[in-house]
């Protein structure tokens, strides 16, 4: 340890109360930021997952052009082959096939044009929360044929209840007329009005026969354990699917499927950034003041040192070293304690009691689990470190400009 470092270290501990308070302020800011950023990321994950899991899925594989044109004929003709690739990717938690046909769905005296979706009841229950949002009746069972699930608002519009009949009239993949009579088995409410107003789900096997699909599907919907896996999955899927020279398929992730959600998160991050910035500013001022006072207190001392021939630059270095050391200790303490606290909540969850009832109604748990990651653990503390160091520069420059005689004379 060099002399300067030793000196700086000793100086810091000359006034333990002050040092501890300063350290605490820095550590406190770092802790709050680690926790808040983790909390935010955790709540975004919940938000995204609950949106994604109602219906959208994290990743969808579709025939090229299907998303834009919604043409019945743009199919994945041999979904099992792609499923083999999908199964090889560990990060994909579950996947399911879907097929869609725009149809006229009518009850005894009402008719509506809606999207009829063929789902595999077992697979779908893994990737979508609809099975848990059934308000009346039951979810589809694996052996079901001419049974449907319909949205609450559509059920109201068509004036149907459980076990009522609906007629589906649409056009099959080959252009021929698709018609069938089904009975309502379950009515769901997702909380997304658009979805509840325009969705009818039938078993995929029944859809396949009704719409002459020949085993083809329109989408393979996949979900991941964590949002952080999505990019990797997408990359792997793209690489593997092009390798096998599959007929042109595209891989879409949730960001492409729900662009509004991504934008919402960006906006929330932006406003949160303002909150954090102000917090850091307040802390920085506290610290600036502390350093400033410390320098004022030691003006005489610095004056003596200067008079003894210590170069102003060395003094500057010394003061800066003191503050850097303090800041670094504070930040590191903050990261460690912040991570520990966050980790505890990550395993136990935080109940947003006030809102949980509404959230619960729509299948969200209302319990947020902060998500600790490298970014959330370091981004905030880094900001604290940089701003605090900047705050420390001002008093240090002041020291550099001291004139020995004046300094010694000061109180």
């Amino acid at each position: 340890m060099s002399t300067d470092m030793k000196m700086a270290f000793r100086n810091i501990w000359r006034s333990p109360v002050r040092t501890i308070l300063t350290l605490s302020a820095i550590a406190f800011a770092a802790i709050i930021l680690v926790f808040m950023v983790s909390f935010q990321l955790g709540s975004y994950e919940i938000m995204v997952n609950s949106s994604v899991k109602i219906y959208t899925g994290h990743i969808r594989i579709q025939a090229e052009g299907y998303r834009e044109k919604r043409n019945m004929r743009f199919v994945i003709s041999s979904p099992e082959r792609i499923a083999k690739t999908v199964e090889k990717i560990e990060e994909i938690k579950s996947y399911s096939f879907r097929a869609n046909g725009f149809s006229l769905v009518s009850s005894e005296n009402r008719a509506r044009g809606v999207l009829v979706t063929g789902i595999d009841p077992e697979g779908e229950a893994e990737i979508s929360t609809i099975s848990g949002l059934i308000r009346k009746g039951e979810y589809l069972a694996p052996g079901d044929r001419d049974k449907v699930l319909i949205g609450r608002l559509l059920a109201r519009n068509l004036k149907v209840g459980i076990n009522d009949e609906l007629t589906i009239l649409g056009q099959g993949k080959d252009g021929s007329i698709a018609a069938g009579i089904v009975t309502v088995k379950g009515i769901f409410s997702s909380g997304i009005d658009d979805f509840d107003r325009s969705t009818v789900q039938v078993p995929l096997s029944y859809f396949n026969d009704l719409f002459y699909m020949d085993g083809a599907v329109h989408e393979i919907v996949c979900t991941a354990d964590s949002l952080f896996d999505v990019n990797k999955i997408k990359r792997l899927l793209k690489a593997n699917l092009s390798e096998k020279k599959q007929k042109k398929v595209v891989v879409l992730d949730w960001k492409e499927l729900l662009p509004g959600l991504v934008q919402g998160i960006q906006l929330d991050l932006a406003s949160a950034a303002i909150f954090y910035f102000i917090l850091v500013l307040v802390v920085a001022f506290s610290i600036l003041n502390t350093f400033l006072m410390a320098i004022l207190e030691r003006t005489k001392e610095f004056g003596v040192m200067l008079a003894l021939g210590v170069k102003p630059n060395r003094l500057f270095k010394l003061v800066l070293m003191e503050s850097s050391f303090l800041t670094l200790t504070g930040v590191i303490t903050g990261v460690v304690v912040g991570c520990a606290i966050t980790f505890w909540f990550q395993t136990h969850g935080i109940d947003l009691a006030g809102a949980s009832e509404i959230l619960k109604e729509y299948g969200m748990s209302g319990i947020v689990y902060p998500k600790l990651s490298i970014v959330s653990a370091l981004a905030g503390p880094l900001l604290v470190f940089v701003i605090t160091i900047c705050a420390a520069l001002y008093p240090a420059f002041k020291v550099k400009k001291l004139v020995p005689v004046d300094a010694i004379r000061s109180i």
Binding site: F28, Q263, Q266, I278, S286, M293
Partner: protein, 406 residues
């Protein structure tokens, strides 16, 4: 007497005092600003949510919310108007609308949309539409053929102002009615979905198209104070036949927004505490240092036989003076910074580009309310006084011996 003493004391070393004051100022400023900012954010979120044809209170035919078709309109609104005349508080504005789903087409495109017949004068006062016409003109009350379309729809249909849209709808008698309308103006909305979903024509134009005599689909009411909403809604419910009509507030109509507002408010209180703690460290630290600087003085006072209490009192009084000065300056600074952003707002686009999902504007206009300012100041003053207790105690416990050692 000790007020004077304290006042003189704090100016004995102005540099030191300024440093402590600045800590308070920055704390007060940040909290005033944050409260204004978050208030502005919430207000914009609420406004955006409510202004897209919601308002504070809505009245419909009871069957309308289940099945929003022309069959479930309110065919004799005179009775409701009479009730509203009696119940609405001063400053309330209401507008009537006809809302039906239609099919709109031009030569190349067609889509389903919601056609809204409006009273242009009142609609302007209540909903987003009045301030959202970016191209062309707003509707004139007598305009029978004019239509307002959203920017997204305009682009999707590849059309322009002055061109035709053919509207097709089921009229009151169940027949298919179709008419040509000319695009008079284009509106922008916070959400693209809104721009694609709604088309606006005049009430008279809508009545003509739909063969309606005097029926309406909904009444939307905006009050000038939030606390009145529930009360007014309850009063309207009392006087209307609730078997026939549904009276709902924005909280019933936008439950997710309501939940978000509640979470957000809770979060704000927590955040006040967090910022205060951050500021508190600075205050304690600097006042403590000020106390240590004056060790000799306090030691002398004690040696002269002064009891601990007067020392506490004098240090505390000094802190409170400093707090007060800081609070005044901080409020002024907060007020000025809010004022500076009054016209242009704070554009969040520099951080992130989207806003649709939360229904929040990209640009936030801070709103300073008396309530928030009082809250912030009271919190800072009391907590500030509480944290100043420690340095004051510390000062009272300085013994002459300790002072001599310095």
């Amino acid at each position: 007497m000790y007020f004077q003493l304290a006042w003189r004391n704090i100016w004995r070393n102005p540099r030191r005092t300024f440093v402590i004051i600045s800590a308070v100022v920055i704390g007060v400023w940040s909290m005033v600003f944050l409260s204004a900012f978050s208030h502005g954010m919430l207000a914009s979120m609420l406004d955006n949510g409510k202004s897209v044809l919601i308002g504070d209170i809505q009245i419909h035919n009871k069957k309308y919310r289940i099945d929003p078709s022309i069959d479930n309109s309110m065919d004799n609104p005179d009775k409701i108007r009479a009730v509203l005349d009696k119940t609405l508080p001063q400053g309330a504005v209401l507008t009537e609308r006809i809302k039906v789903s239609t099919y709109v087409s031009n030569a190349r495109h067609s889509t389903g949309a919601v056609l809204v017949g409006i009273d242009p004068e009142n609609e302007k006062k209540i909903s987003f539409l009045g301030k959202s016409i970016t191209k062309g003109e707003y509707l004139d009350k007598k305009d029978m053929r004019g239509i307002l379309v959203g920017k997204a729809l305009l682009e999707k249909f590849d059309t322009a102002i002055g061109k035709k849209l053919i509207i097709m709808a089921r009229d009151k008698k169940g027949k298919v009615a179709s008419k040509a309308f000319r695009i008079r103006g284009v509106f922008n909305a916070e959400m693209e979905a809104t721009e694609k979903q709604f088309l606006f024509i005049t009430m008279t134009g809508a009545r003509k198209l739909l063969n309606m005599e005097k029926g309406i689909s909904e009444i939307s009411i905006v009050l000038n104070s939030e606390p009145m909403v529930e009360k007014t809604a309850a009063e309207i419910k009392n006087r209307l036949d609730t078997e026939l009509f549904a009276v709902e507030t924005w909280k019933d109509l936008l439950p997710m927004l309501k939940a978000y507002v509640e979470i957000f408010n809770g979060f704000m209180y927590i955040w006040y505490v967090v910022v205060f703690v951050a500021m508190g460290f600075g205050i304690v630290n600097t006042s403590l240092m000020a106390v240590f600087e004056r060790v000799r003085e306090f030691g002398l006072l004690r040696a002269l036989g002064l009891k601990p209490w007067p020392v506490i009192r004098s240090v505390l009084t000094e802190s409170i003076f400093i707090l007060l000065i800081g609070i005044i300056a901080g409020n002024l600074l907060g007020y000025v910074s809010v004022l500076l952003m009054k016209d242009n707002g704070l554009d969040l686009a520099m951080f992130g580009k989207g806003s649709e999902f939360f229904g929040m504007s990209r640009v936030i206009y801070p709103i300073l309310t008396m309530f928030d300012v009082m809250n912030v100041n009271l919190v800072i003053f009391f907590l500030g006084a509480v944290v100043s207790l420690y340095p004051a105690f510390r000062a009272s416990r300085i013994t002459p011996v300790e002072a001599m050692r310095q």
